[in-house]
């Protein structure tokens, strides 16, 4: 499914093995779509010598730091962006900046 800026999303808590570009600390966490960066060959396929086609949409996804870490030391308004492929996202209920 396609997402729009501002949509709340959750990163799938998948334990997919091998080469993935979704860091573990974001799995299961919720945030918001900042914007779609573009479409790129899927790096999870490229890593094994495949074409990575069809290209996958890549989003800049924001997360409030307190939603990532229970003991976050900084400000409640601090946030983090990561670039996450669409197949790692589902609709969610995260906080937003």
């Amino acid at each position: 499914m396609t997402f729009e800026p501002g949509d709340r999303v959750r990163v799938l808590p998948s334990a997919k093995p091998g080469h993935v570009r979704t860091p573990g600390y974001l799995k299961g966490k919720s945030g918001w779509i900042e914007y779609m960066i573009g479409e790129f060959p899927n790096p999870e396929e490229l890593a094994y010598g495949h074409s990575g086609l069809p290209e996958r949409p890549l989003y800049k996804v924001g997360f409030l730091q307190p939603d990532l870490w229970d003991d976050y030391e900084g400000h409640a308004e601090d946030y983090l962006y990561a670039d996450v492929y669409e197949h790692w996202l589902e609709p969610g209920e995260g906080g937003t900046k």
Binding site: R21, T22, P23, Y25, I37, G38, F40, P43, L58, K60, Q65, L68, W69, Y72, E73, G74, H75, E77, D78, Y79, L80, Y81, A82, D83, V84, Y85, K97
Partner: protein, 199 residues
């Protein structure tokens, strides 16, 4: 393998030895050629944080250029004679009085190499990669920068196909400085966001 680098035998680390062995095999099997290896070294050595400093200094003195840098960083770099061509996107994020940006790659060591060259060793360390996302303010403090109380810290984890660079704020008291002098204030650390330029 030792044909190419015999003088280094005694001081080579195990990692360097492994790389030399792989390089030797790739050459022997014809996957790579020596000129390709040399071209690749020359490519990387032609790039440095000085490129980033030039981009920042130009943006500080030229609003139109700043706009281009923030909307199409590769076009801006090309305009200054750099060769930013790379399969990955290049995005510049701007510090403001309300927002301070910090760049990290938690998965490996993604860095805008096509413009800035090789990242510093600490950027690739497990300590930086794990702490920058979890306690960015503590990390910056250790680099000698304390973000003001009312500033939001925004971390960019370059997990995929974008390489990020920070456009820091122009320090106050630099109104009379020329572009070249301004560029000399822009450190590599300030392009990653662990610190800021100072007069």
């Amino acid at each position: 393998m030792s044909d190419h680098h015999p003088h280094e035998e005694t001081t080579m680390s195990p990692y360097a030895a492994r790389i030399r062995a792989i390089e030797g095999l790739l050459l022997e099997k014809g996957v790579l050629t020596e000129p390709e290896v040399q071209d690749s070294i020359a490519y990387m050595e032609a790039r440095s944080p000085a490129n980033g400093a030039r981009l920042v200094a130009r943006a500080w003195v030229d609003e139109d250029f700043e706009e281009l840098l923030l909307s199409d960083a590769k076009a801006a770099a090309s305009q200054l004679g750099m060769e930013p061509e790379h399969p990955a996107e290049f995005v510049v994020v701007k510090n403001t009085p309300g927002v301070h940006n910090l760049i990290v790659c938690t998965l490996c060591s993604c860095y805008p190499r096509a413009v800035l060259g090789r990242p510093p060793d600490w950027y690739k360390s497990f300590a930086y990669r794990s702490r920058a996302v979890r306690e960015p303010r503590a990390v910056m403090r250790e680099f000698g920068f304390e973000p003001p109380e009312d500033v939001e810290v925004v971390v960019h984890d370059s997990t995929a196909d974008v390489r990020y660079m920070v456009l820091p704020m122009r320090p106050s008291g630099t109104e009379d400085l020329g572009e070249e002098e301004l560029a000399s204030l822009v450190t590599r650390d300030s392009l990653v966001g662990v610190n800021v330029p100072r007069l």
